[in-house]
């Protein structure tokens, strides 16, 4: 009997432990698809670009110890209501909705991040029944996520001057701010902290060049780093002075422990 319990214990531990140690769940929604191609510029179609990028980002997140959840895995038509239902049911830690954009002058570049502004406290103008309810705390959570991603991507944390005043009150606003606080159809019914990530403007030659090959991989790595910062993963541990030999290595969820390095 004791032998049986001893054998069962590791099995139970691995079952429970795998859930405990699983990385944060990141829902990736490649916008548009199927009958809805999204925007088009030159030979590029938004739906194809979104899916391709989502798949690459998903692999990078998986390698980094996250649990990526792809909402759309192939070229298929998914109505917004169904996407919202799928995402809310999955209960991810955060949601990234991927969109590619276009713009008339061809000079506007990504990345841009979009967060849903909060409703007016008094619900004035009948916004709540039309939009759903976005509380100030939900807004703050999404804004925190956007700022972590902005930091990872190397852009400033300021809101764009195009932002809705409901979210920009008390916030630093800049004309070239990369975070837009505006109502987006992809975000209005999502409950977890959610951000629309616009990595590329298909009308920008510079963007198309910057998001190809090795530079695309580096860009994706920066998004992953932003998420790590958001979840405070890979927090560096300061080595205790006077202790020689092995550098204490941070233990991160889902990642193998790296090789020990000597203290300088």
């Amino acid at each position: 009997m004791k032998t049986l319990i001893l054998w069962m214990f590791p099995c139970l531990f691995s079952l429970v432990g795998s859930q405990v140690l699983a990385g944060p769940r990141i829902a990736l929604d490649a916008a548009h698809g199927g009958d809805d191609p999204g925007v088009k510029a030159g030979s590029g179609t938004e739906k194809d670009w979104n899916l391709d990028f989502a798949q690459d980002l998903s692999k990078a997140l998986d390698r980094a110890g996250f649990t990526p959840l792809l909402v759309r895995k192939r070229d298929e038509t998914l109505p917004q209501e169904k996407r919202d239902e799928m995402i809310n049911t999955l209960q991810p830690s955060v949601v990234l909705v991927l969109h590619a954009e276009r713009e008339w002058s061809g000079t506007q570049r990504g990345p841009l991040l979009v967060v849903q502004p909060p409703n007016r406290p008094d619900g004035g103008g009948g916004d709540v029944p039309r939009w759903g309810f976005v509380s100030p705390s939900e807004f703050r959570s999404s804004l925190k996520l956007a700022r972590s991603l902005a930091q990872g991507l190397g852009v400033g944390p300021e809101l764009s001057s195009l932002s809705d005043s409901r979210g920009s009150v008390g916030e630093k606003v800049a004309e070239d701010g990369r975070i837009l606080c505006l109502p987006h159809a992809s975000l209005r019914n999502l409950t977890p902290p959610s951000v629309v990530l616009i990595p590329i403007f298909l009308t920008s030659d510079a963007d198309r060049k910057a998001l190809s090959g090795d530079e695309r991989t580096a860009f994706i790595d920066r998004i992953v780093q932003g998420l790590k910062d958001h979840f405070q993963m890979d927090v560096p541990v300061t080595p205790t002075p006077g202790v020689g030999g092995v550098d204490p290595t941070p233990v991160t969820q889902g990642q193998p422990t790296p090789e020990p390095t000597a203290v300088e």
Binding site: E101, R102, I198
Partner: protein, 183 residues
């Protein structure tokens, strides 16, 4: 001859009646109804009205920055008609050259309304807009320009609300969630 007088009087009265009916009916179509798409055109200004300048947001196609350009409208006696002229100047502004209005081809104005609280309801038609050529960022620039052409030029405008074909649509053209009265 005396026997013909009543008949002639009746015929004369009938002719006068038919003539009056035709005169009052004017250019109307069958059944006295207006043909579709031919609402009576009410002029927004009198040719004698002096001109006035309004600021309209343009997009500099070389830099991608917003620039404000003066456009001319007529200072009609009705303030609302001035607002409508300003919106039409924005929607029908240049779409090529050094600068352009951030308005997609095919966007049209159905009607406008002004409430006592200072909310302007702008009813737009997006039927002619190609959604593949009008993304979220462009929707943002368009709405910003629309709000500014009213709020920057007319102090009585407190907020702007956008309708699509007379309805409170959930989105403008696929991305921007409407239902806002943002100014």
């Amino acid at each position: 001859m005396k026997d013909l007088k009543p008949i002639l009087a009746f015929l004369l009265a009938a002719l006068l009646g038919i003539g009056a009916y035709l005169l009052l009916r004017g250019g109307q179509g069958k059944g006295g109804e207006l043909p579709a798409g031919t609402a009576p055109v009410v002029s927004l200004f009198d040719p004698k009205d002096p001109s006035m300048k309004v600021l309209v947001r343009h997009l500099d196609l070389k830099t991608g920055k917003a620039v404000f350009v003066n456009a001319t409208i007529r200072q009609s006696k009705s303030r609302f008609n001035q607002m409508k002229q300003a919106v039409l100047v924005y929607l029908e502004g240049p779409k090529s050259g050094d600068t352009r209005v951030p308005v997609p081809a095919g966007m049209a104005l159905n009607e406008m309304y002004l409430t006592e609280q200072g909310t302007v309801l702008v009813d737009l038609s997006v039927a002619g807009v190609d959604p593949k050529g009008f993304g979220f960022y462009e929707e943002v620039l368009f709405l910003k320009g629309l709000i500014e052409v009213l709020s920057k030029n007319f102090f009585e405008v407190k907020s702007v609300r956008v309708l699509v074909d007379g309805r409170d649509a959930p989105v403008l053209s696929g991305h921007y969630a409407l239902g806002t009265s943002e100014n």
